[in-house]
Symmetry: D3
Subunit: 193 residues, 6 copies
């Protein structure tokens, strides 16, 4: 286990956390075997912790026509462009697991245009990158391209809203210098025994 | 009242909104005399509405050493750089009111380096812009500069977290093409009678 | 009246100005009730003053198929992109008056793609922005797009020449740190009594 | 003589020009042996012609502490950055002649940081490039650096104003696709017999 | 084994390759158990193959004061910035092995400023990135910073020459759409049994 | 002969060079009357010298459907964009000679879009610039455009490989601050007697 700091800011001890936050963290520990550092770093600010994960879950756990793997592709592609180490490493792991593909995350993080994805997913990531990097130029023509690939308005909201949420998340992680847990690096890279 | 659409996405009618959301919107109507369009556009997605405003309030309403006017300066400067019409117009109005200064918002939105602000506020905005536009390069030297201006670690979190939150907000508003309410343009420009 | 400096450079007193420049300035004072600071700052260099305003008038006062409001839209959009506080505030005021629209200037300055303008005006501003920000890539295809919107060659010259002139003006204003007169901020925002 | 068009816009015949413009052009023909194309292209708009050259002469012919060669360095460096073929070729010729140096123009146009110039001239060009490319960030620290190199406020105005004027000129030339006269390419490259 | 194409261009069969190239490729097959795709793609052009690997070996195999791991850090950091999927995946594997560190490659590829490296290595990568992304601004001040970290002129040549060589390599790989071998993704991630 | 340094690094004397390198340099001296400085600067590292010129010759001397003048156009256009003084001046001279055109090099170096070249050459340079400046976005659509202009896959490799090689060369020259020989500036500008 690394002794390196996980945040530039103070990280509270479990007993000092509000009950609901401690409960969520203990649940993660039990389920995953470790606590992703973003939970610990944000516990420094309980109200922001609650809003952040409520927002995250509203987008990433909702009943959507985007698969969970596709949503993670959006996270990994935009986080790569924003040079967010925590998000690329942690969500890269989740993407590998969701997509059951050990190669996809490194491909999408480095250059999604060359990843093993379908044309529909390529169009999805083109739009996500536009929202992430030059949202001021989004216009109706973008919606038309997505419609050609079968995305309806709700799907487009999902794509754009995830890209927008991780624009926040990437900046937060870079500001606090959030360290990815060592556990993430290998997750999803080996075939299940 | 304008007849122009306020969002590219469906906007629910008041009776169709969940109770808590309708209540907040009616409260705004009563207090301000109109409902800022971001509330109506986000009501299309109740869970995202709740998380968005919980996050907003956690940052903008919390007990902080940054004044409320200073927090709005961060919003206006970064939203100007991100070309977010809704955020510049709506938060420009709030900034004028909070700062009791009819000129400050237009100055900060266009080029904060030439605004009528104090050196401490200039340093605050330099950091906010860095988080907003190139967070991957934030490092300890930035924290040292802010410390020289009397900002402690909690203040820095506040500055960076507000810049990060509005990175989300700017992208959301540009994606949905959120229209600023006509009422905002003149707010805070006239001396109180 | 503000006591803040209007320029980084010396500003001459009226009695020390050449007769033609003093006359123009006194005429402005009489007509508008105040003297826009760009006249005072440029009076430091009489020959440049004369050439600057001769150029300005040749473009902005000429008999053109572009309306005066459209010409001001070009100024405001490109000055916003160039972060020129003086030009956005001063010409924003003139645009509101010329267009008889209290909202248009803030819209165009922040993100002209979302302003309440016609498709023809959108094409005009797309070209103006290209001349302002990446003129090296202008080619015949741009002229063809403008022709589709009914702009002839003389109109295109007008659009491009205004964008080019304010590329100069924006840089001059930023170099001298030209301060907008307080009077501009509210002009054109209130209905005529 | 090339048969290639010198401008995307109509170029008037000498007899159709106003007297003062025809006189200036004939004077150039007599003195230089050819008429630089910028005079012919701008003759399409007499008022703009007069203002442009009045401005040009006010900056480039005035009694300044910058040598004429130094002023041309500013033109060539900023025009290179703006990819203005006419300005680089035409003012490159003038720079070679003013500086009596056949190498200097190609050096400054490509990468002024590696040109055979003095540290004082390097500082001058650093500031000119800042005005040309990111004037919104000019601040007092830039003036301090220039002062260390012996530039007073009037010198700084000269540097910045020339960079600003050629920001206009570069954009105009790129918009009209102004063709450099063939004569410029070789001027100043050969030792005087 | 994937059936996906490894290059947009024809890839020769082993029997059709010149003897020296076939020998090198068979040697790699024997030693590593697979042939990195860059060898197969470049075999399409034998002379370029020979020059490319002669250059590569001259830099990466030479007796240098930079460790082999440090040289691979330069490759991975600059290839990440240039969005070169092949180089990040293949050299990421080599970096993990050379550095005996399963985490280092993903850290350096995404944001080297936050990687587990020493200040000396951070300075090395800052310079490599400058050569890779804005070499036109390299100047003596950069050499002075590197000297403070103990790098002599030969070391600086090594850093810069590796960054320059992979500027070529990244562009070649993106042009031919070079596919990383599946084997690279997991290499160096597991402890040796 | 200039006394100015030609490289930031040591340049070996002829007697201290390996025999093959000395022979190539003496051959150049005999043929051209002077030794281009890139040979002298690279002689500091014999293995890199050999690989560099083997690569150069493989691309620039090979039997290709691109004329030698066209290959030099690629070098000059991309080197201009990369602000490489040595490459623009030296290869500008070669381009003038290969194309038997005294104007072409200055045109292509400053803004190739306005050079006296054919549409096919314009398409060639558009692709070369894309490889040089944003290779991560190259895709099949680029190949289709080139095919419309009659370029087959081997031609495209040639264009892209030359752009990639000079991405290396430009960075090397800027890192070592390679000085162009004075002789290059005038070469190819005068009609043959």
């Amino acid at each position: 286990m690394t002794e390196k700091p996980i945040s530039r800011f103070p990280v509270p001890e479990l007993p000092d956390m509000p009950e609901d936050i401690r409960a969520r963290i203990l649940g993660l520990q039990e389920k995953a075997g470790f606590v992703p550092n973003v939970f610990l770093a944000l516990a420094h600010r309980p109200d922001e912790f609650r809003a952040f994960f409520a927002y995250h879950d509203a987008l990433m756990e909702r009943d959507s026509r985007l698969t969970k793997a596709e949503r993670e592709m959006i996270v990994v592609a935009t986080s790569g462009a924003n040079q967010c180490q925590y998000c690329v490493v942690a969500h890269g792991a989740i993407l590998r697991i969701r997509a059951r593909d050990p190669l996809i995350a490194d491909q999408v993080a480095t250059n999604y245009r060359k990843a093993d994805i379908r044309p529909r997913q390529r169009a999805m990531l083109d739009f996500a990158m536009k929202v992430s990097r030059s949202a001021e130029t989004v216009d109706e023509a973008d919606f038309a391209v997505l419609a050609e690939h079968g995305f309806d308005r709700e799907d487009v909201w999902d794509i754009g809203a995830i890209a927008a949420f991780f624009a926040l998340s990437n900046r937060f992680a870079n500001m606090v210098s959030l360290r990815p847990n060592d556990e993430f690096y290998l997750m999803g890279r080996l075939p299940k025994a």
